[in-house]
Amino acid sequence: MEKSQIIAPNVNGLIEHDHNNDGIDRRGFLKCMAWAGTGAICAIQGGVLKSYALGSQMGSKMKSHKADELTFVQISDSHMGFNKPANPDVIGTLKAAVDKINAMPHQPEFILHTGDISHLSNPEEFDNVDQILKATNKEIFFVPGEHDVLNDDGKMFLERYGRNSKGSGWYSFDKNGVHFIGLVNVMNLKAGGLGTLGHDQLEWLEDDVRHLKSSTPIVVFAHIPLWTIYPQWGWGTDDSAQALSYLKRFASVTVLNGHIHQTMQKVEGNVTFHTAFSTAFVQPAPGKADGPGPMKVPAEQLRSLLGITDVNYVQGRHALAVVDSTLA
């Protein structure tokens, strides 16, 4: 397990990781992780992990889009309906995320929402999110968080967002040669355990990727992290190793998760794991509090700890650029 450490950011440093030669600069990587939580940016571009201070070179780098590029945005954990001191205005911060997306110089093709759309699975909460996200004018792909399937085993979620999905809401689709897989790991959780994919979904996954060429870039998105971040707080998925074993032969796998309301990144062989900011509230770093509950931060700091994730794929390159930016 990689744990993030607080290291004073060195604004002149460029942090590089050669993804293809597995020569990770561990110290640099940790710096990058620490930065991400305090308003800087981490990116993997062409297999090289780099970090930039917000508002510096990053803007110009991201403007150089070409026809063979695919850009999409991940948002997560909007928790519509949450009204506690950690953020009494989750409508305002979700709208800020939408403004951020609409202001991107090169518009993303679509949006992934990695769950906890609502706080209490109420229809009005889903309605509110749908209404706010409509302003992006983008196609949106959803997977459920545990807050979206509270009282009806996910029936309402499936009716609203999972019409073309299998089982409890899993599915796949292709865009610009990238194969996207949405997984559900918040259903049928067992006492004492972590997130669960379950036998049926694993079988479907194995079959879903069977026909793909090994050079096909894969993006997997699910709510609870598919790597073990902090099992004491349930931040992991019991059978994720099985799922990842089906993806071993692929040159590039990008795993996008939410749930923990903070950005973290880990590279393991061909797989880049990434967790996104929430648009609603902050949770403590692993083990840094008595429990994982919502953390109240000074009001003026809140938007620098919430955000969105911008993902960029250039055909012919292995790794996808994963860029976090805050709402501040």
């Binding site: 949450f82 506690k84 209490l120 004492g192 355990g193 004491q232 349930g234 429990g291 509950g293």
Partner: protein, 115 residues
């Protein structure tokens, strides 16, 4: 201790109503000094193991800013999602050990021992 705070300065009518509510589950554990409330706080059940007499009603109260769902491991009982300060009660009519967990945060586990 909690009851003392509740009773101080409360008008008589309300006092009677409140004491009826508070005392009823306590009466079920006649002769034992055990509480029948489980506090759900900071993603833990307190106490994690609660021992009660047969026919006791156990009430779980959620003190977190995050909802929880109380579910017995074998499906005997399951609450709706409990938001902050909401509660769920279940009456145990047979002796035994009843392990339960939060079905959306399954690392949260506890048990009720009914004697």
């Amino acid at each position: 201790m909690k009851r003392t705070i509740l009773f101080s300065g409360v008008p008589v009518m309300l006092l009677l109503a409140v004491s009826a509510l508070v005392l009823q589950p306590t009466r079920a554990t006649a002769g034992e000094n055990s509480s029948t409330e489980v506090r759900v706080d900071n993603f833990t059940f307190g106490p994690e193991t609660l021992t009660v007499a047969v026919n006791s009603t156990v009430t779980w109260v959620n003190k977190d800013d995050i909802p929880h769902v109380i579910a017995s491991n074998d499906g005997l009982f399951k609450s709706k999602a409990l938001d902050t300060d909401q509660s769920f009660s279940y009456t145990f009519t047979k002796p035994g050990t009843y392990p339960y967990y939060c079905s959306i945060h399954p690392k949260m586990v506890g048990k009720i021992v009914v004697q």
